[in-house]
Amino acid sequence: MGNVTNENIINLNTAITFEAETFRRIQPEEYLRRYIQQHVRPDGRSFNHFRKTTVNLSCITTADGSSMVRIGNTTVICGIKAEVSEPNVNFPKEGYLVPNVDLSPICSPRFKPGPPSEQAQVLSENLNKLLKNSKVIDLETLCIEEGKAAWVLFADLVCVNYDGNVFDACVIALMSALMNVRLPEAVYEDGIVKATEEKTIILGLIRITYSASFAMFDGQHLLVDPNEMEESITKDGITVVVDETGKLCNIWKTGSSCSSEQLKTCISKARDRYADITSIIEIAKQAIKKIE
């Protein structure tokens, strides 16, 4: 397909006009391009505007830690369950943290029932890498008895509504659920692990990381927090993960090339976003304190 220049857009069959919704269906790229030319996006946001983000903590009482995150319409629920298992032979003092993302047909018509799609597996793997490389938790705190028993934290993330940018929502859900985990005190005696009824131990997070995702349109326009339509049209994207000190933890860049200037813009926007997310989570924590 070559580049469609400006003059071709004007020379289109002007004799045939379409309603906006029809045009959006037939020529989604053109539709988006016309909005971008006016410096606005189809849902009315500016290029730099993140959608409204809300966090609810402790929403699933059967889980040891849980949270529900909404970024615009994208909704992800994270539930963490703790089980006991033998630690890895090579790392006898460490427990495990296993994230798993589930993109089921309930969240969008694009997912068909069946085994986890490639997208879900990639998301799970990226979250896993993020947790390992950034050392979000000291896995040694999950150890009950060296070489014999350790906690395994299964973090299951279920997406119930898919409207773009699931990765950001998953990261926020995972971090806030981890902050929220309550474990019982466990003691290893004669081959059996005994745990108290009360769940009192709070997991200590060494580092808290949040991400910000961007889509790149036409090689020049950076759109922050793409929704589903924008994500499906622009295959290029950048995801930046920073921690509380502003240090860069992870960057994922897919698609065509971008300049280093654009990368720097992304990193600084990710830092600003970090501050916003922290305050949103504070509000959520206050909300549960009021209930307790």
């Binding site: 699933i60 089980e83 047909p105 309930i106 119930v160 898919y162 589903e228």
Partner: protein, 244 residues
């Protein structure tokens, strides 16, 4: 050695403080998901369920196409964190498939499928937290979601469970109660009291059957009031928004 659970305490209150004929606290909201054609969220006590309806849309496999009506497909998914013990229930778990099949058979005569030949209506149910009463909450959630999707139905389908503790019929069992007493689930069309689903998988004395069934039917009517109220509230909000 008495290992009998005290399901009904000395004052006649059950483990969660209810009387024998009280429903659990119910909370429902339609139109919660933007991607689905119709959706609903229901909480009955501690059981939480999310329903999404897609359709009518083109059938996925040609083998499922029916020439004169729409094909209804129900899928139930139990989140791994929904039960006390984490179990990654695969979709083809027999118990779940059986419940899905029961839901599908309940809705097949109620949804007016003749209007949508050769298409498919998908009903997806996600259980977020489990405390007993899967079949009933799935049916209630599916009813709300189908209404929200605008798919024509003959009537609401409301489901409720009832059981028998100490020879007394009790309404709406939670997980602890349903593991220890005979349980009967009934799905009803409230307008003309027709029963569309009746399930019982344990032993119950035939003398008690009539009472338990009547109690379940009454429970269904109460649930109908709650669902109807939620639907009307929702449409009032929508009308307000569109008239501004």
């Amino acid at each position: 050695m008495s290992s009998r659970l005290e399901l009904i305490g000395p004052q006649g209150l059950r483990t969660d403080g209810r009387r024998f004929n009280e429903l659990r606290n119910m909370n429902c909201k339609p139109s919660v998901l933007s991607q689905a054609d119709g959706s609903a969220y229901i909480e009955q006590g501690n059981t939480k369920c999310l329903a999404a309806v897609y359709g009518p849309r083109e059938a996925r496999t040609k083998a499922q196409v029916l020439h004169n009506r729409a094909n209804i497909n129900v899928e139930i998914s139990l989140a791994p964190f929904s039960m006390e013990e984490r179990k990654k229930r695969s979709k083809s778990d027999k118990r779940i498939l059986e419940i899905a099949s029961a839901v599908k058979q309940t809705f097949e005569p109620i949804i007016m499928t003749e209007l949508y030949a050769r298409s498919q209506i998908d009903i997806y149910l996600q259980i977020l937290q489990f405390d007993g009463g899967t079949v009933q909450i799935c049916i209630n959630a599916a009813t709300l979601a189908i209404i929200d999707a605008g798919i024509p139905m003959k009537d609401y389908v409301c489901a409720c469970s009832a059981g028998c503790i100490d020879d007394e019929p009790v309404l709406d069992l939670n997980h602890l109660e349903e593991s220890n007493t005979p349980e009967l689930t009934v799905a009803l069309l409230p307008k003309n009291d027709k029963i569309t689903l009746l399930q019982m998988e344990s032993r119950l004395h035939i003398d008690k059957f009539q009472q338990v069934m009547e109690m379940a039917a009454k429970g269904c009517k109460e649930i109908h009031t709650v669902l109807d109220k939620a639907v009307r509230e929702n449409i009032k909000d929508l009308l307000k928004k569109s008239s501004i």
